[in-house]
Symmetry: C2
Subunit: 592 residues, 2 copies
């Protein structure tokens, strides 16, 4: 460590020496506590110091095949080390999340992790959707690695619209088996990670047919390959889908079925069931599956945060070290961070990291609250949580991807090189805009909740916290006079969000009144609806950030000062980015 410090670039050293507070405060803030920081560092050292893992260099120079082989080798090495930790009792609950998430995972797996779906989707599906006999059968086998699974839902022709999935599982009471088929080219499973060459089993999502009727989509555990030879079983058509913008080690695959039979016991039957004679018993509760989707989106906020933190750190350091051009022709070339245009490209993304951090923590707490309420059959907060998780995933992924790209461009030609790690981070972040709910689709889901909330507000009904501002807007409450403080700007954000929601609701109503069918009117109002969901996410982030700064538990006045400045920057930056809406929607507000 000492050696490193001595060789440190002088410009970097100087900038660091000017920090007004102890930077470890930021570290603790992001980790949660000094203890968690220590634990994280121990874990990182344990994994990253390992020689076999260290040799994972220059992945980008390799062929697609080599990238996969190396990624699989790394995945096996990492699991070996996880097991060692488990045996020595040092494992903690966060560890697997870090390894499969962005923080440690993206450092360990430059090309992506071909086993990620085994742990992130296959095992959780068994735990959540299988009955106890099924769990007894599968869990140990999967945990031991005899069964390597993936999760096969998306098809070549079907992603967003789940009901449109075409793969069929038809129950045959004669043999007490399901017969799986891929009736069309578009029905082939497409995308599952690890499916290409890694997994020997999959959870398959298929339309269940029994007693001549379609019962909608259900989950089945399906063996795909021989456990010894790893050859695909007869009736299984399987392969890899090809290269992508990023994550080429994930080994995404395709999968088709030709009259492929599995035992009745392989349908996951914790909720719905098919009896031996083919009788279908419907699930008692649909809402419980909501929880998993929300959980994944909440986790994605953490991933995105780590991608953006890495990118902004790289860009800031580069801008300190890089000297280019002169401001004063009498002086030497300046650090490019001295250019106001460069600061404008970089600083807002530092602020955004803190905004995402506090938002993600807030939503994680809310998720845990709602989870414990669900166990007491209290579903009241579920719609609010669902609507928040949708728009936040969309806005945070879009901000992060665009932010990383701007940061990459701010590093000039060097940002174009993969050695900067910026192209790789972009590949990871932009993928989140599409998977686990395409962003536009998610914004429209939130918009549905917002339009409904607006109507409730107009009827004077009470609303949950995150949309309470609609009540004031509906009542036409005038806000305080325009002034230069943050509270006033936050009120303006409220007014913009409420105004956008009102506008979308009114446009929708007008179209319906004009005789446009409801569904088509919804489609025609798509732009206004997505925009109001974005405005809602933004005001939520702005308020959460401001509240967190107010409640900041630090003895350092200087640190609190910098945090306040970052919050102010975030709030002003996004108001300016969207100044048209502030001028249009809050015109009444500014006239006050």
């Amino acid at each position: 460590m000492k050696q490193q410090k001595m060789n440190m670039n002088k410009d970097l050293q100087y900038e660091r020496s000017r920090c007004t507070f102890d930077p470890v405060e930021v570290t603790y803030l992001f980790d949660g506590s000094p203890e968690k920081t220590k634990r994280r560092r121990d874990q990182e050292q344990y994994f990253l110091d390992d020689l076999a893992l260290k040799e994972n260099v220059a992945m980008k120079y390799k062929s697609h095949k080599e990238i996969y082989e190396d990624s699989l080798q790394i995945a096996c090495n990492v699991l070996q080390k996880v097991r060692e930790l488990q045996c020595s009792g040092k494992e903690d609950i966060d560890l697997l999340l870090h390894i499969f998430g962005a923080r440690l995972g993206s450092a360990l797996f430059e090309g992506g992790n071909p086993l990620v779906l085994h742990y992130a989707m296959f095992l959780p599906s068994i735990l959540g959707q299988a009955n106890s006999e099924q769990q007894a059968y599968w869990i140990n086998r999967a945990w031991a690695g005899d069964v390597i699974g993936t999760y096969a839902q998306t098809e070549l022709g079907h992603g967003t619209f789940l009901r449109g999935l075409e793969t069929t599982a038809t129950y045959d009471p004669e043999t007490k088996e399901f017969v799986l088929n891929s009736p069309t080219l578009t029905s082939y499973k497409w995308w599952p990670g690890g499916l290409g060459h890694t997994a020997n089993h999959a959870i398959v999502v298929a339309q269940l047919y029994t007693q001549g009727e379609c019962r909608g989509i259900h989950l089945f555990v399906v063996q795909l390959r021989d456990v010894e030879t790893h050859e695909p079983l007869k009736g299984i058509i399987i392969g890899e889908i090809g290269t992508k913008l990023g994550m080429n080690g994930v080994n995404n695959g395709f999968l088709g079925f030709r009259d492929f039979r599995i035992p009745r016991e392989n349908m996951l039957m914790k909720n719905s069931k098919v009896l031996e004679d083919g009788t279908y018993i419907k699930s008692m509760n649909d809402k419980l599956t909501y929880g998993t989707m929300v959980f994944v989106r909440v986790m994605l906020l953490q991933d995105l945060l780590h991608y953006l933190m890495k990118a902004v750190t790289i860009a800031v350091r580069y801008s300190v070290v890089r000297r280019q051009g002169q401001i004063n022709p009498e002086q030497p070339e300046v650090q490019i961070l001295d250019y106001v245009t460069q600061q404008h490209k970089i600083f807002p993304h530092i602020a955004t990291c803190f905004a995402i951090k506090v938002t993600a923590s807030w939503v994680w707490d809310m998720y845990n609250t709602v989870q414990s309420q669900l166990h007491q059959a209290d579903y009241e907060k579920l719609p609010e949580l669902h609507s928040l998780s949708c728009c936040l995933k969309a806005v945070v992924s879009a901000d992060t991807a665009a932010g990383i790209e701007q940061l990459r461009l701010s590093c000039g030609g060097h940002g174009y090189m993969t050695a900067s790690n910026l192209p790789g981070l972009y590949g990871l972040a932009t993928a989140v805009c599409t998977y686990e709910g395409e962003n536009t689709v998610l914004l429209l889901q939130t918009a549905r909740y917002l339009v409904k909330s607006w109507k409730q507000a107009m009827n004077g009904e009470p609303l949950p916290d995150s949309v309470e501002y609609l009540n004031e807007a509906a009542k036409g409450v005038k806000h305080r006079r325009w002034s230069n403080d943050l509270e006033c700007l936050i009120d303006a954000y409220d007014a913009v969000a409420a105004g956008s929601i009102r506008l979308a609701a009114e446009h929708l109503d007008r179209r319906i009144r004009d005789g446009v069918p409801m569904e088509e009117a919804w489609n025609q109002t798509g732009t206004e609806l997505t925009q109001c969901a974005e405005a809602h996410a933004r005001v939520f982030m702005v308020k959460t950030f401001a509240k967190a700064v107010k409640q900041l538990n630090s003895k350092s006045e200087e640190f609190r000062q910098v945090m306040f400045q970052l919050c102010e920057l975030y709030i002003v930056y996004w108001a300016l980015r969207n100044v048209g809406n502030f001028l249009r929607v809050s015109i009444d507000f500014f006239r006050n």
Copy 2:
């Protein structure tokens, strides 16, 4: 062709059947004439039908080394075919431009062309900067391929700021040689295409020292590798810089010199000279080198146009063929192009293609006019052309890169796959934001011209066409009443651009009046300055587009109608994207 049509997707066939005009009109518009369309198609067929070139598949599956080897093989095959064309007298002047530009080049060279700088920079530098003896010596050797050159200007630590280049060429009158040196790590040449393993010569840009004085940067032809063994010569340190976001077949390299000697005759001496005794004779004319930079930027507009055209074609076709989700639950899944949100993502970029096309053609004509004036020592229009080429390169590259990325995201998961070609197109387009003048730097160059023009307008001096709108703004001329037609919106664009320029000029002046030194005041006004250059580029594109539509030479009323709609979409889209400035700056205008 018939076979193809029979197998065409039904949705695609249906959409095409609904076109109100003959689509070949668009083809002729983009090519320039029916004859040029035919010639282009013949060329494409000639190159793309070639078997050896066809085998260039699946580049993305290969290792970095294989990508380079394959790219070099393709480059040699292409050159062979170019020579055959030359021998048969079928070559035309556009051919090389197409092969090295985006249209044919990006189809032929998936990984990039390692010989591109030999033709695009080495040969033109010899032609433009060498005296006639030097041309006699080098041109034939380079054309025959005995000499393969590149152009080595950028250094590891020096890109934008040319005067900061560190490589030295010190004249030694004893031996009548220049001694080349790389005095620091940051002085190593970094980026030149083909330098890694391909070129055996380079034009090297270095600080000339003679008779103890630094004379600024000059150009030198330097042999780097043995022509027979291809080994680096003694005193040459050379290699490849590594993998990048895109163009990995271009073989970008680094280069250092240790007391490397070249004969005096290897300095390109068309303009400045060093005599045998070391006497330095200064160039008579600096302005002529301007021309090359402008030429490259004008060519880049064409490249960007082709990237965006390809991307928008892919996204439109995908959105027609892809069916996902329902608008009316009674109906089958819809083509995703039926979603208003999808149209909002795609249609503006169709309009942008036409806007770029007419702008690029206009600037190309202006370039040719100015070139012929330059030959008569008439430099009047050069500053205007330079300022236009700077801001247009910046705005068009930023629009194209962001557009391709939005189009890629509009194709969901399939857009993430390299098979969609969208990640590759993005890699090519985003690079243009950085090379040949980083966008922010270019915008600031235009801003300097605009601030000067604003002051001239305030003094009542006449201004060139592209900034004439400043005259009216300076005089405070009121525009026509607000109405819903395009002319009125175009007036608003004028007002926004003029208002942005005035704002930047006033902020700059105020800072200087407040005692901030000129250079630092310029830096502090960086954001306003880049924004006014963007607004200037936009109003120029808007007006050029509107004028081109008005002058459109087509008998088809329907085609003219569609072109008008595209122009309207472009104008309304960018006004809405920037609605804050329209509301702020043109508030007087709207009040009229």
